[in-house]
């Protein structure tokens, strides 16, 4: 081999790296389709159908705002996909670190931000179809989106943000423990977050202590904003609060991940 043709130019920039790694992640997902793309869709749809059908008469309770429980449950279940669909990317990242593939990428000048962002986006892109399908199933069960197409777009944007923010917890656990299996232990967290929120019933029907807990539960903000977009009435304040909570959570988790990543790959 001659040295006549060395690299065309300096290494790809961060955006280029994110794009290349994201394509790699998505393609890799097609070789493990059940885990990568199947699970995020199956769980929320099963929950929506089961809950909407088995608890349909909950709406008979005095003070319940709607008479169709599926309509009440569809928005939070759409947001639930942001919790049940993430985690795969964190495990994949740890496998890459363990196999030395991350070192290979570092030697090719891949920045930590490129690696982390491409993994977070992978989770988001796995979750969005699940959210859309859940919404479609909800529509079949009688749910109408109060805010129309604009509402759907805002809902999906909020879902993307929530998936990225919540998924950050998985990355923190994975990188903090340096164990590819550790994120699995985080999976049941979505259960208390659901029950300690307004997902199943309006605030007026919740016990006092649950009300108190739900105010500190970030998922409550996602549920309330999603409902204002789908079930109505629309509240710009609720939507803004949800985006603010999601952004703060994203910032905190990703900054933590950046630090933990350096530790995990031996930079520190």
């Amino acid at each position: 081999m001659t040295r006549a043709a060395r690299a065309d130019r300096a290494s790809a920039g961060v955006l280029g790296q994110v794009g290349m790694l994201l394509v790699r992640n998505l393609r890799e997902g097609t070789r493990n389709p059940v885990l990568a793309y199947g699970i995020p869709v199956v769980i929320p749809i099963a929950v929506l159908i089961l809950v909407a059908k088995t608890l349909a008469r909950v709406t008979d309770l005095p003070g319940f705002p709607t008479d169709n429980y599926a309509e009440w449950m569809t928005p939070p279940i759409v947001m639930l996909t942001g919790m049940t669909g993430v985690g795969y990317a964190a495990t994949s990242l740890m496998i890459d670190i363990g196999s030395g593939f991350v070192d290979r990428l570092r030697l090719l000048d891949v920045k930590p931000a490129s690696l982390l962002v491409s993994r977070v986006l992978f989770d988001v892109l796995r979750v969005l179809p699940a959210g859309i399908i859940t919404l479609a199933v909800g529509a079949v069960l009688g749910t109408r989106v109060n805010e129309g197409a604009r509402g759907i777009l805002v809902l999906l944007a909020l879902l993307a943000l929530w998936a990225a923010a919540y998924g950050g917890l998985y990355f923190m656990v994975a990188l903090g423990t340096r164990n590819a299996q550790a994120p699995i232990a985080l999976a049941p967290l979505f259960l208390p977050l659901q029950f300690l929120s307004t997902q199943f019933a309006p605030e007026v029907l919740l016990p006092g202590w649950v009300k108190g807990a739900s105010a500190w539960n970030p998922f409550t903000y996602m549920v309330d904003a999603a409902r204002s977009l789908v079930t109505g009435p629309y509240s710009a304040e609720l939507v803004a609060k949800a985006f603010a909570v999601g952004l703060v959570m994203l910032l905190v988790t990703q900054l933590s991940c950046r630090y933990l990543y350096s530790r995990a790959v031996g930079e520190r």
Partner: protein, 343 residues
Amino acid sequence: MVTSETAAGPVPAIEVRDLTKRYRSSEVDALRGVSFTVDEGEIFALLGRNGAGKSTAVRILTTLLAPTAGSAAVVGMDVVQQAERVRRVIGTALQDAALDDLMTGHEHLVLAGRLAGLRRRRAAGRAQEVLEAFGLAAAADRIAGQYSGGMRRRLDVAMALVRRPRVLFLDEPTTGLDPQSRRALWALIRSLCDEGSTVFLTTQYLAEADELSNRVAIVHEGVIAAVGQPRELKDRWATTTLRVQVGGSEPGEMLRRGLADHPVSAGAEGWWVIGVPGGEPAIAAAVARLHAAGVAVERIAVDTPTLEDVFVGLTGTEIESGPASGDGAVTAVRKAMGLGTSR
């Protein structure tokens, strides 16, 4: 060959000064004040046992790990201060093949090329070129998880070459390979060197260091015990042994008279064993002195030391045995003297 030069002269491919590394989790220094230089176009081997500090050295030189103290530069660029620039001129294959089991061989190489800055079409072309050079073209579209150990190692080294590196780092490149694959990789490393690349490899195989490298550094417990050409190391740090069978009634006495300053001892089956300091160059002189002293030499054999002798002499420990080193060393003295030979 591309040679870097400054006003002060040619820049070494690798320059390491007082390099020290202590891991946070350890109370022992993995490297302790290590210094050496590697010239451009050399094949340089770092030889040592497991845990001697070889991989730590590679990780520092390839910018993956920060040293605790000391400095290291690759083609004149500091591996800490100018890490990005260093990465652009090196290729690296670490100890374990760093592959994604769900990606094909072709996808690995295209991704490496694209991340290295090659445009899409060029990266694909380069990937094909490297796959063919490494005998992996037929398996290009199979995922790496289906590759054999040898194929994984070849793909890993191939990835290191996508960027056409000036300095290639190979951390135990042949560990776990069958003899055929090992020889093939050696041939490839030699050809890279012929084309001007510098190769820095670590190994625990004595034969690999001996046959492949221009110079060897022996590292033991984080310290460089010796650096030099394999022949130099043997001459300096181990003793060549001359074995002779001689006629006459008191052969031992005659030998001790002829070579008074050499240790002489009786061996098995009528052989006398003489230690000859100074290595092979001193053998002919020793034999000539025996003739001059009237010793009737009937048979002669020379056992040249191996790197293992050097390693044991320097470190007091044996290195793990590696692949067979081949024929061993029979010097030209036997032929030149026209005497019977035996080993």
